[in-house]
Symmetry: C2
Subunit: 121 residues, 2 copies
Amino acid sequence: MKNQTYRMTMLFDFYGELLTQRQREFFDLYYNEDLSLAEIAENSGISRQGVRDVIVRAEAAMQEIEDKTGLIRRYTQMQSHISAIENAAAEIKIINYRQYEDARVDALTDVIARAAQALKE
Amino acid sequence: MKNQTYRMTMLFDFYGELLTQRQREFFDLYYNEDLSLAEIAENSGISRQGVRDVIVRAEAAMQEIEDKTGLIRRYTQMQSHISAIENAAAEIKIINYRQYEDARVDALTDVIARAAQALKE
């Protein structure tokens, strides 16, 4: 299951608070803390298959919410626009350095770069 | 209830697909199509109070999801960063017009402005 860690982390970041406490705990231990199913089973006193079932159901619940709302898909699309902003601001900064050395333009490109960075957090 | 239409529209935009079909239908008719409770009641053959109950439960369900995930709050915070980007790009464009007339800078500020616009859609 861990070959899909990026997708799982996104699902958990967006929808983790909608899971049950147990689902959230096991999902977090498995994907974020990188424990194995056997380790979680040992710590929680249930079977490895039981742990696996909880995690699989948690993923299914979050994926169903994403399929309905599309909020992660929308967020992912925003990232390409943010990259375009960052690249354009960096190019303006270079042009300004090479040709005009205007401190206002330099400061404004920094404003854009910082705002774009904040959008990614 | 209609004095909170903006908030309701945001909730519906983000989480409307997680409602039941009836909740979604009544919520949409009331807040987006601006029908009255009495009009929805008449069209659907249930009492005005019944319609009201469905809409109130729909709002509570969506607000609970928002309270847990904070996704609308995050989205709203992003809007201030996008405004900062738009304003900085507009200022660079004006400086460029007045002082340097560099077609590359003009084109790059347009790239930034278009990407910022896309982020708001």
